[in-house]
């Protein structure tokens, strides 16, 4: 083997590898760029305020009226509601798998939780609206009857019967984001230094006290990062939400019993009509807001974890 030959090969090979890395950076950059380019003409032709209007009328290209207030409300409310349900359960599962489950069973149990991530979101949507929603309707009615004075449980803009509400959607979303939050949290919990745990045990701490004094404080940033990743997933979930949520005639008022569209489901609902550029641009503008939102949330997750967050 001549020396020069190897060096030449190395240079080429390294260049290819660097180019592959650059492609990924380029993809994200292009994504932001093209979404903006295609959105700008529609934003200029918009007759309503993009940020504060609850209308989304794109059928008349000469009189576009679209705003994202209602989309934002539904997206954030359903995602945060999902997070409120999923995070405590995920932390519980992670604690169970790392500290309670017998060593032999911890792995298969963990894989079972991961299986939830394998189910396609459209199947979650079908199950959510046809199977789960009828079960949730009595619960929703109960909450609405007794706690209706509280804005989250007040009468929404769609009928409770049928269950096409943010309430149902949020619970389905919670199930969907459970595996990612669990797997990241579990990874961090498993890294708790042995010394901390043993020190707590030496002080006579019960198992719960060990977890409260060592595992939770050590894993706090990991839990925050995991929640952020879960939030990012929930914000962008499309088809399950599209199938579950009912269309509402009026804008919602931050009630869990509202219907309507999230950014993602709004875009998907109109996908068949993407023919003329101006109306399509309205949806692309909404898509850009979603892109920016998930970018920020994922960047925050990374910052919270102090570097890489996996959670495939």
């Amino acid at each position: 083997m001549k020396r020069g030959e190897g060096q030449w090969g190395d240079t080429v090979f390294k260049s290819i590898a660097v180019a592959a890395g650059a492609t990924i950076i380029g993809a994200i950059a292009l994504m932001g760029l093209f979404l903006i380019i295609k959105a700008i003409p529609s934003l200029q032709a918009n007759h309503a305020n993009f940020l504060t209007s609850t209308e989304f009328l794109t059928s008349d290209a000469d009189n576009l009226r679209f705003g994202i207030r209602d989309l934002f409300m539904v997206t954030v409310l359903s995602s945060v509601f999902a997070l409120v349900i999923a995070v405590p359960i995920a932390i519980g599962i992670a604690a169970f798998l790392t500290n309670y489950a017998p060593k032999r069973l911890a792995r298969p149990f963990g894989m079972l939780v991961d299986l939830l991530a394998a189910v396609p979101s459209i199947v979650f949507g079908l199950w959510g609206i046809f199977v789960l929603a009828p079960w949730l309707t009595p619960v929703a009615t109960l909450l609405n009857d007794n706690l209706g004075w509280f804005f989250l449980f007040s009468q929404g803009n769609v009928s409770l019967a049928g269950g096409g509400t943010i309430f149902t959607a949020g619970i389905v979303l919670a199930v969907m984001i459970l595996p990612i939050i669990t797997s990241v949290t579990r990874e961090v919990f498993a890294l708790t230094p042995r010394g901390h745990v043993e020190a707590a045990q030496a002080l006579g701490a019960t198992k719960w006290e060990v977890i409260r004094m060592t595992v939770f404080p050590y894993g706090r940033s990991g839990m925050i990062a995991a929640s952020m990743l879960g939030l990012g997933r929930a914000l962008g979930e499309t088809i399950a939400i599209l199938i579950i949520l009912r269309t509402a005639a009026q804008a919602g008022h931050w009630s869990l019993f509202d219907g309507g569209y999230t950014f993602a489901s709004k875009i998907a609902s109109a996908a068949a009509e993407f023919s003329s550029p101006l109306p399509t641009g309205a949806y692309i503008a909404a898509g850009f807001v979603l892109f920016a939102l998930t970018f920020v949330v994922n960047a925050l997750a990374r910052a919270a974890a102090g570097g890489r967050v996996s959670g495939g």
Partner: protein, 300 residues
Amino acid sequence: MTATLDQPVKAPTFHPVSTSRKLKNNIATTLFAASFVVAMIPLAWLIITVLAKGVTAVTSSTWWTNSLAGVLPEELAGGVYHAIYGTLIQAAIAAVLSVPLGVMAAVYLVEYGRGRFAKVTTFMVDILAGVPSIVAALFIFALWIATLGFEQSAFAVSLALVLLMLPVVVRNTEEMLKLVPDELREASYALGIPKWKTIMRVVVPTALPGMISGILLALARVMGETAPVLVLVGYSRSINFDAFEGNMASLPLLIYTELINPEAAGALRVWGAALTLILIIAALYLGAAFVNRYLTRNRV
């Protein structure tokens, strides 16, 4: 020291655990175990539902061999082989494009990546992993269809799936390459083999089983994606073998289309297609487990 030491100066070191602490401990144990059970309920419920509702359609004689061409909405006939073909070919094209790219990016990050550019790349991989599928689809629409002027096609769907597969492939390959012991690399260098050949002939082959199983799981992940097919390709009731032209069905798109079919046959098709999709994904998971178990043992 007129000692009245009839009792120890120091309180006994070992107190029995107080009732309230025991109680808290038991409550915590119960809650942790219960949260696991709570997570298993939807999984079991969902799988049982899909099996129960999908089995009729899936076991019908024409399900795997026919398309829905010429089948009336209310007719209990036809099959979904056109949609199965669409799902498989779209995912396959996505894999052909994203695997080399993803593997090379991972090779860069593990074997070469130092400094700022590598940091930006890992950051962008994380961001790409968080991009919602609808945004990826919209981006491909804006670039491929609205700007470059191509028609909607299965290939456009594959392009969007590439974006969704890439981060999964990169991360998994990275993990696997990191598991390759440095001794192997050093032994190869000591024999005078250049770095690129070491990577191609020593490092990658060693990590290959893990990489393959990761790729299978990534495929399973993108096959169920519905947002890209909604935006980027039209539905077809008959078979279309050409990924570059025309409408093409896929299982998620068939489910979404048949949802608005009010007939009983529509519901059967919806759940049948959902079960078919889950069976394909299960097969990929089993394949991944098989590769992991039987091919890894012969190496390292």
